[in-house]
């Protein structure tokens, strides 16, 4: 899969962005779910789906959010979208704190942040034409003039690579890739500033993934959007992101510039993720991470990754992971042994190229 856009690494220069200001700030976000419990509430436990994360999204930037299924990526997305009430923490969108109020003003939020879903088959209402799918949100948000609605729908369809005369069709008349284009059009119809892409290509045929990715990149430039790219597919993240945040069990374990993360990963978890990207040019067996994501209801003692970590020492099993240390270059890591491991990598990469 990586071969599909391996050429991207060279063409992907962090361009000078207009106005380096922050459009989304997530501070100490936590979402806990009470689970189980008997008739009298005994034995209730807390599932810490997201446990204190900080994120920053700059205008015009694409932030990759990476991690295994169940690590809390989607819960973060739902919180930003106002669909999941956080247990703790603040979300500041375009200068407004959206988590302080009792009830979220969804309509105002809708004009700032939107989402593109993973499954283009389940994400379009089978009983609505494309036109209705795009028209209803416009009307809801106060656009009532027929000429303006028609104009905006036609322009949006052209933006996403569809023809305006296809607006009268139903979703089942389109292919998966076209449906995802409709999903993108729906996310963009209200002119939001931020798009959360929740695995936008992982349900698509490999042959059309690149098309959708290029479309997303193109729209980001022309419409001045900011993206949060949620994925477990590092190839996609590598190609699209300016910065990357790696999540493990409800926490961010490493964050930094995409080049830093992919070329000098410091956290053992990030390193195993990157080592697990298949590379068709090198048919060596892939490095695998032993074990599975621990049960978030029963997290391990010490650092959450320690049971699976190749570098774990006594301190890792005893003490919870350190706080996220930010280095001068903006690269931050949550690991007791990050510096030692970084030293080893430099050595190892000259020998075998395999950590």
């Amino acid at each position: 899969m990586r071969a599909g856009w391996s050429g991207a690494i060279t063409m992907h220069e962090p361009a000078a962005r207009p106005g380096d200001d922050v459009i989304l700030r997530v501070e100490d976000l936590a979402v806990h779910f009470p689970v189980g419990g008997g008739l009298l509430g005994g034995g209730r436990r807390l599932l810490r789906a997201v446990d204190g994360i900080d994120l920053e999204l700059k205008r015009g930037e694409c932030l990759g959010l990476v991690g295994e299924s169940g690590c809390g990526k989607s819960t973060v997305a739902l919180s930003i979208l106002g669909l999941q009430k956080p247990t703790r923490g603040r979300i500041v969108l375009d200068g407004q704190v959206v988590t302080d109020r009792q009830s979220v003003d969804r309509k105002a939020l809708a004009r700032i942040v939107q989402i593109v879903f993973q499954d283009p088959y389940a994400s379009l209402n089978p009983r609505q034409t494309v036109r209705r799918t795009l028209e209803a949100p416009l009307r809801l948000h106060g656009v009532t003039a027929k000429s303006e609605i028609d104009g905006r729908i036609a322009a949006m369809l052209r933006h996403v690579g569809l023809r305006p005369e296809q607006a009268g069709r139903y979703p089942h008349e389109f292919s998966g890739g076209q449906r995802q284009r409709i999903g993108i059009a729906r996310a963009l119809i209200l002119n939001p500033r931020i798009i959360i892409c929740d695995e936008p290509v992982s349900a698509l045929d490999v042959s059309i993934r690149a098309q959708i990715i290029n479309l997303l990149l193109e729209l980001k430039e022309t419409l001045g959007l900011s993206y949060i790219m949620i994925s477990h597919d590092l190839g996609v993240v590598e190609h699209m992101s300016d910065r990357v945040a790696v999540m493990y069990l409800g926490r961010i374990v490493e964050t930094g510039d995409w080049r830093e993360i992919f070329e000098r990963p410091a956290h053992p978890y990030t390193r195993t993720l990157i080592a697990a990207i298949p590379d068709p040019l090198r048919r060596a067996p892939l490095a695998t991470t032993p074990g599975e994501l621990p049960n978030p209801l029963n997290p391990p003692d010490g650092c959450a990754f320690s049971p699976r970590c190749l570098y774990a020492e006594a301190v890792c099993h005893r003490e919870p992971g350190p706080s996220l240390e930010t280095r001068p270059d903006g690269h931050s890591v949550r690991c007791w042994r990050a510096d030692e491991i970084a030293g080893q990598t430099a050595l190892a990469s000259t020998e075998s190229g395999h950590p």
Binding site: A110, A122, L124, N125, L140
Partner: protein, 273 residues
């Protein structure tokens, strides 16, 4: 039965009943209530009296034709009331969950535990006989299946991407239920509604037979059966023709419901797509 056959036969029978009901004043030979003439009492079926006459000399054919109006009105209107109640309760319960869901579930279980005909009988006893109370009694007692189906569909649909997308776009709960959820669960609701119409026609007949529904001399198929009870050996045509009308209408509605289920079932649809 081959795919589509039951739909065609059922649809044709139901359409025939509707047609007869609508055109009753033109199809009937005589006035079903006023044209009593003891000179023609208890005539067997003949060219003059197609379905024979009753003890008062009224034309059974005309009475059956007019009876279609009452039976179909009761069937359609009471099932519509049932569907509206069932969908409203089931949709909101599935969507909002919480105490409202518990409440609706409890109510549904209660309704399922009481035989609906007995319940309708009790309501009729309170309200008295007549068309309006018949509609109320049958409209309030048969919504539990619709409610269950609507709730189950809502639970499976509400996590679909397009429902989430609607919430992200700022749609209110009511708008989501009406524009996103309802259109996608109509298939099974229509099937249940069609079958429910058949049972409402039967329930009307039963209540009228017991003297609690439509009162003589007005012709409903149930009340005609009730009147014919005493002459079942001497003048069997008095009960055969209204009975046949009930049988064919209910059969038609059941076949129609089955046929619609074949078409609207998401699984059979995806096989054909």
């Amino acid at each position: 039965m081959k795919f589509g056959t039951s739909l065609i036969i059922g649809g044709a029978l139901f359409a025939l009943a509707i047609f007869v009901g609508l055109l009753a004043p033109w199809l009937a030979h005589t006035d079903p209530v006023m044209d009593a003439n003891l000179m023609n009492a208890e005539e067997p079926p003949s060219w003059t009296w197609w379905f024979g006459t009753d003890a008062q000399g009224r034309d059974i054919y005309s009475r059956v034709v007019h009876g279609a109006r009452i039976s179909l009105t009761v069937g359609i209107v009471s099932q519509l009331v049932n569907s509206v109640i069932g969908v409203t309760l089931g949709l909101t319960a599935g969507y909002w969950g919480g105490w409202w869901d518990d409440f609706v579930n409890g109510l549904t279980n209660l309704m399922l535990a009481i035989p609906s005909l007995i319940f309708a009988l009790a309501i009729m006893a309170v309200l008295g006989s007549g068309l309006t109370s018949l509609l109320i009694a049958l409209g309030l007692t048969n919504w539990s299946f619709t409610c269950r189906i609507a709730r189950a569909s809502t639970l499976s649909l509400k996590n679909q991407g397009y429902v989430q997308a609607a919430r992200v776009l700022g749609y209110g709960d009511l708008r989501i239920m009406i524009t996103q959820l309802l259109p996608n669960m109509l298939g099974p609701i229509i099937v249940i509604g069609t079958l429910g119409m058949g049972s409402a026609v039967l329930a009307e007949a039963a209540l009228s037979f017991l003297g609690l529904g439509i009162r003589p001399p007005y012709p409903s198929w149930g009340s005609m059966l009730s009147e014919a009870r005493e002459q079942i050996t001497t003048a069997p045509w008095l009960s055969i023709f209204p009975g046949l009308a009930i049988f064919l209408t209910v059969l038609g509605l059941n076949l129609l419901g089955d046929g619609l289920r074949d078409i609207l079932d998401p699984q059979s649809r995806s096989q054909r797509a």
